[in-house]
């Protein structure tokens, strides 16, 4: 490795994007070379300056996700959750609009009591338990 090769690879050396054996080889050269030591010092300053500048005030606003979300349109699977943590009751109901499937579960203090499947009959059971 000569100075030209070392200095060309310095940006990736300081950003840690080189294989371990190449880093070792470069480190050995730089230790004994004043020119490459100066070049490395300069590269670190450049990197720090760039990082400082690029990090300043650079996060997108929440409006971007809101705009994307609205473009995606309504979700395919409507989901409804009903909960009453004050009473220690948690009732979950989900419906798949495509297959008109209705599922439900009732939890009391975190314990699942019954899972309601597809049939309407079982949904009535849930309704009674909720009452």
């Amino acid at each position: 490795m000569n100075c030209c090769h070392i200095q060309e690879a310095l940006p990736w050396y300081v950003s840690g994007q080189l294989p371990a054996d190449e880093i070792r080889e470069m480190a050995e050269h730089i230790t004994g070379c004043n020119d490459c030591q100066r070049a490395l010092s300069l590269m670190i300053r450049l990197r720090n300056a760039y990082m400082s500048l690029a990090q300043a005030g650079t996060t997108p606003s929440d409006r971007v996700w809101a705009a994307i979300d609205s473009k995606l349109g309504p979700s395919h699977k409507p989901h409804v959750d009903v909960g009453s943590f004050l009473l220690g009751l948690q009732v979950g109901v989900s419906a798949n609009a495509r297959r008109t499937q209705v599922r439900g579960d009732l939890r009391i203090f975190g314990h699942k009591v019954r899972i309601i499947g597809r049939e309407r009959k079982e949904n009535h059971v849930l309704s009674k338990q909720e009452r």
């Binding site: 950003s15 650079t58 996700w65």
Partner: protein, 171 residues
């Protein structure tokens, strides 16, 4: 299949929760990269939005030949340069005035003002190489893939950017 690839494959099935996770993971990187090219927060947000919509629609086309990060940044680059061309035609792009950008005023306390000015003055194709290497930690090969240029060109652009900035630091 990596975790990122699995996430993208879920997005390909139109899984909105997975898409939101992917957005949270890459939004800052895409926005900052777009900002390094366009230098306008408003336009960079437009590019972020267009890029993520392209990811949503095109996730199924990801072949796994590159990292997910590289693939997304490649899309962002195309979107940003399309915006750059469009805005240049309409001359709505902000002038290369450092004051026009949103910059933390305390940043200049920690870095050399002259270097910052020189960074602003760099041509966008040099600045974006610096961004991909220093900020996104891409290898030469990955940066070349995002920029769609030979690896030697990545190195030469980096070399020219370094020389320009070195003058400011050593003068």
């Amino acid at each position: 299949m990596t975790g990122e690839e699995k996430l993208l494959s879920m997005v390909a099935t139109q899984d909105r929760s997975a898409f939101h996770v992917l957005y949270e993971r890459y939004a800052n990187a895409v926005y900052r990269y777009a900002l390094s090219i366009l230098r306008s927060p408003h336009l960079a947000e437009d590019v972020l939005q267009e890029t993520m919509m392209a990811v949503w629609k095109g996730a199924g086309g990801f072949k796994g030949r590159s990292k997910v990060q590289t693939w997304i940044l490649g899309i962002a680059r195309n979107q940003a340069h399309a915006t750059l061309r469009r805005e240049a035609k309409g001359q709505r792009l902000p002038a290369s005035d450092p004051a026009a950008e949103t910059v933390d005023p305390t940043a200049s306390l920690h870095t050399d003002l002259r270097v910052q000015e020189a960074l602003h003055a760099l041509p966008s194709h040099h600045r974006e190489v610096m961004h991909l290497v220093f900020f996104e930690h891409l290898t030469v090969k990955e940066a070349a893939s995002v920029l769609e240029i030979p690896e030697g060109t990545v190195k030469s652009r980096m070399h020219h950017a370094r020389l320009t900035l070195a003058k400011e630091l050593t003068s």
